[in-house]
Amino acid sequence: MASIVNQNAYSSALPNFRNLGILLRILLIVNVAAFAAAVVKSETLRGAWIQFVEISAVVEPLLILSLLALMLLNGVLSRMPYSLGVLAVTGLELGLTTVLYAAGRPLLAPESPLERYWVLVAIVTLVLCAYFDLRGRALSPALAEARLQALQARIRPHFLFNSLNAVLSLIRQDPKRAEVALEDMADLFRVLMADNRELTPLAREVELCRQYLNLEQLRLGERLRVEWHIDNMPGDALVPPLILQPLLENAVYHGIEPRIEPGSISINIYMAREQVHAVLRNPYQRQGNHHAGNKMALGNIRERLQLHFDAEASLTTTISDNAYQVHIAIPYVRQRNS
């Protein structure tokens, strides 16, 4: 029981300093604070601007150095217990301040003593740590919620019942195929009902997509053609579970089922510049009577990408004359064997 409770409780942790979103937030917050300080110190806005430039000369070098140091030490920091981690970060900042104070002294000839800078830096560092802790807490129930959303938007009842019907039709004539189909269905629903907060290897998600498409093939026969281009796929990349399957379900529902002629869905997964790209294409017909299901699934996936990767992941859709394309880019994260 205790372990179940623990899973839902939030445990404080330092943010991932290699995440672009986190770095941008630190940059923004520190600069806004510097500007606020400038406004407080001067009486006119023009004066505030000059003041801000002066403050920046002191703040920016420290800021850039800090971010670099935090990025480098991210691995070490993330393994520390939270309180020790905060202490280490504060210590690091004070150390950097000391170094810069000594190095900048001949240039800037500061009037105030080093201790004053220490106090300022410590305050800003601790406030930032508190901010990231609060943000983590605010987002953590959202991650649990994401699992629920994953369930809600997934698998149209339409697909479930039609597939069951297709399997029933096979039981008498082709019991072997019926068995395989039911096994695929079991796997699919196991993932659908699992706790989907954790990332999963891309190879696993692709396997799930294959099982899903096999089931659709059963119903649609040669109307559904699938082209896989995954030779250069990094199978060990970690992705949110059910990130591709719902997109394929959309592709079948909106791209293949409304067509009388056969149509093909292409799946292209590759790696470029430390990013995993997945590009799905399906035929597209401009038809008025479609439901809002498509937007819902896209919104859901976009939200989960953001929860897991913040600003580093993206999802874009393009509609051309007769094709619909979804392009997902995710930072390449591998499973750590620790």
């Binding site: 339409h158 019942f161 019907n165 039709s169 008498r172 119903r219 409304p258 009388i260 008025g288 009577n289």
Partner: protein, 255 residues
């Protein structure tokens, strides 16, 4: 009386082959209780209409979600047959349609279908009237992809994108495509409502396809006063724009 009844003639319409196979198995099971013969199967609405123009059926088992023409639209076209068959809709999941079927007491079966349910529905066929045109019109959510005309015992389908204009004459509406003209028995007002987006009313008795409009011209009226006529793609006839609809000359002329 039931003992000596002719076997029920059944047609299966479903775009998915496994679903048709399953239905055949189920019908074979029902055959002992309800004498029946399978007259044929079709994978699309168009194929079903072809089949039913040469063979008679007492009942059509009709899937709702199909490409090109959905089951409800097909049922509406089937109404134009001399002796329209009874219709039993089948669907895996369609919350909207099911609610509508309940309201209009239209028979339907949920997939996966149980043999017992199918047997009950088939047993009701001889006494149940085919669904009314009004009920079917209300079941339809979007506009039909085709208009249908009854010609020499056959149903002729006219894709709506081929239609240039529709003209009401007495109790009929004439459907003009670039090549042909067909008579259909539907009120123009209902058509105007159904095709409010692709068509526009230019006259009390005439709807024209927006995309066929080539331009407008001033024509001399009898009383010396001129009026506008609309020029249409693929059609030589110039159609008068009534005084009340003059505003569309400005609206469409600008595009």
């Amino acid at each position: 009386m039931t003992e000596r009844q002719q076997p029920l003639r059944v047609v299966i319409v479903d775009d998915e082959a496994p679903a048709r196979n399953r239905m055949r198995d189920l019908l074979a099971e029902c055959a002992q209780a309800v004498p029946l013969v399978i007259e044929g199967e079709a994978a699309s609405g168009r194929a079903a209409l072809d089949l039913l123009s040469s063979r008679r059926a007492d009942v059509v088992l009709l899937d709702i979600r199909m490409p090109e023409m959905d089951g409800i639209e097909l049922a509406r076209h089937l109404q134009k047959l001399d002796r329209p068959p009874a219709v039993i809709f089948t669907t895996a999941y369609d919350a909207y349609a099911i609610r509508a079927f309940e309201v209009h007491a239209v028979d339907y079966l949920l997939k996966p279908i149980r043999a017992a349910r199918l047997r009950e529905a088939l047993a009701r066929v001889p006494s149940a009237p085919p669904p009314g045109a009004g009920a079917l019109r209300e079941l339809q959510t979007g506009a039909r992809a085709f208009l249908s005309a009854h010609e020499r015992g056959k149903i002729h389908l006219i894709p709506i994108e081929d239609v240039v204009y529709l003209k009401a004459e007495l109790k009929y509406v004439t459907v003009y495509t670039a090549q042909h003209a067909y008579l259909i028995e539907e009120p123009l007002t209902a058509l105007e409502l159904e095709y409010a987006v692709p068509f526009v009313r230019v006259h009390r008795n005439c709807l024209v396809a927006r995309k066929a409009v080539r331009g407008f011209e001033r024509a001399d009226g009898d009383g010396g006063e001129g009026h506008w006529v609309v020029l249409l793609e693929g059609c030589d006839e110039k159609i008068a724009v009534s005084r009340r609809q003059q505003h569309i000359v400005r609206e469409l002329g600008r595009q």
